[in-house]
Symmetry: C2
């Protein structure tokens, strides 16, 4: 069995770190991620620099990146202006960022739950016309800070809408990290009931409450084969103001290695990369594996 | 469904912290653990103070402890001298500490894998004669730092021997924290094949490589209902020299709450206790839940 690790460190990770790292550090980071065996590396975002100053150098980074054959370097695209920028740079894979809750759609996208699709529709349609692949993040799939727990049926409705637009994959995000395995099961079962192919579902867990790996294991047992994670667990959670962000890629790889599931990732090489990056970010990696291996590397 | 959390913070946790906390802090810690709803709290150890100076105040602590009815306060007893001390103090529940590997038995117990039972036999027999309950820790059940991975059959042999002596429960420990869910499944299946009642099995995971909760979930799914953890995740791992020790009780309770499994533990009250103790230990709690709730408590 082989699974896909969708590495979000350079985008979701660095976007939520308070330290802004220079473009040459990002370039080296991405190069080292590919060298460690990662084959899908979300590289940056075409969000307006006013909102995400950490990724203001998107064009400069893409122009100077050495691309490894066989590795994809998707870029987050929030809207049509972002898509224009992606097209100018010849980007092949993009991701859009949707919300499963109305309150977060209003807070983050300045749209309602329903009207967000009007924003995405031309983005996805034009991207597909240009032969791009479009992934859709669905954030706040388990709970959001305002509405509390989110009903699986609501997430399925949002997700089905995005798949119907032409997205090839949904990344179901527990943006605030409060979900537990029972909720994961309920959400994936709701998608099954709606006849969604599990191959179209990825999961994206934050370790804010220590649940990320147990949730990932639950999804794996239910047939999910694409897992989002960030090298070293960088990222934090912008809503919980916690030091702990995305599931650390190293902790995920450690488990998958133990399960005999192929990832192609060299966990020691990856942990070395995270240690090096932690020096640049000025804080220790929250990854347990990185901390444990730090004594040996 | 209801499970038992076997709280090891005051013994396994404090024993592996570099800071030695005063007896009145231990007393308050244990009192607050019971107030938060924990019903089994391993209190201290009758190991010689030369080996574990952190717990040299065992008698003083036991003499001054306010016991809550319905809560058990087991004590670790390494040998007959330890048992004498336990009997003098009227202790009702004890735990012995065995090894699943020969190298660790030699290093930690100064015995071979086989000869450790000669040491335990009179301890367990006398304890049972006095109406005590005896739990057996089996350490290094997944791997040890010298021998690498440990075969499940070897662990089963050690465990069966301890049950045959009269121990009511085995605590299967991943002392260095390297195990993953597949290994947990293999070990529990090996015990099933040897016709061991799963009610006699507890699991004891360390979060050194971030696997503790995923491993616990795996054991829960296989019918295990007793889980060792330490409040705030205190303890470190004496072999990996990692800041991350036992599975944090808060992270475990968060998952069990989400699964609708009763524990009787108030996670906020427990996290407050761990934050207070972290101040005494002079280092932040490694528990994700404690870190996340710290902003709200």
């Amino acid at each position: 069995m082989r699974v896909t690790i969708y590495e979000v460190g350079p985008r979701d990770g660095l976007q939520n770190e308070s330290t802004v790292v220079p473009v040459d550090v990002k370039r080296e980071f991405i190069g080292r991620l590919a060298a460690a065996g990662l084959t899908t590396i979300e590289t940056t975002s075409f969000v307006h620099p006013k909102w995400v100053p950490q990724l203001a150098d998107a064009e400069e980074l893409l122009d100077s990146l050495s691309r490894v054959p066989g590795v994809s370097y998707p870029v987050l695209v929030p809207n049509e202006r972002g898509l224009d920028r992606a097209l100018e740079r010849g980007v092949r894979d993009i991701a859009i960022f949707a919300s499963a809750t109305d309150t977060f759609a209003r807070a983050n996208l300045n749209r309602t739950l329903e009207s967000q699709f009007e924003m995405f529709e031309p983005v996805v349609a034009r991207a597909l016309d240009h032969g791009m692949k479009v992934r859709a993040y669905v954030s706040m799939c388990f709970a959001d800070p305002w509405e509390g727990p989110v009903a699986p049926a609501q997430v399925v409705e949002v997700g089905r809408h995005l798949l119907d637009l032409g997205c090839y994959e949904l990344s179901l995000g527990d943006t605030i990290g409060v979900g537990t395995p029972a909720h994961v099961t309920a959400l994936l079962e709701a998608f099954q009931d709606a006849r969604t192919d599990v191959a179209q579902l990825a999961v994206h867990f934050h370790d804010t409450y220590g649940q990320a790996l147990a949730n990932t294991l639950t999804a794996l047992r239910m047939g999910v084969t694409t897992f989002d994670s960030s090298a070293g667990g960088i990222g934090g959670c912008p809503f919980a103001k916690s030091a702990t962000g995305n599931l650390a890629t190293e902790d995920l790889v450690w488990m998958l290695d133990g399960l005999g599931i192929e990832t192609g990732v060299d966990v020691c090489e990856l942990a070395s990369t995270s240690l090096w990056l932690a020096g640049k970010l000025g804080r220790p990696s929250p990854s347990r594996v990185v901390q444990a291996l730090a004594k040996e590397l």
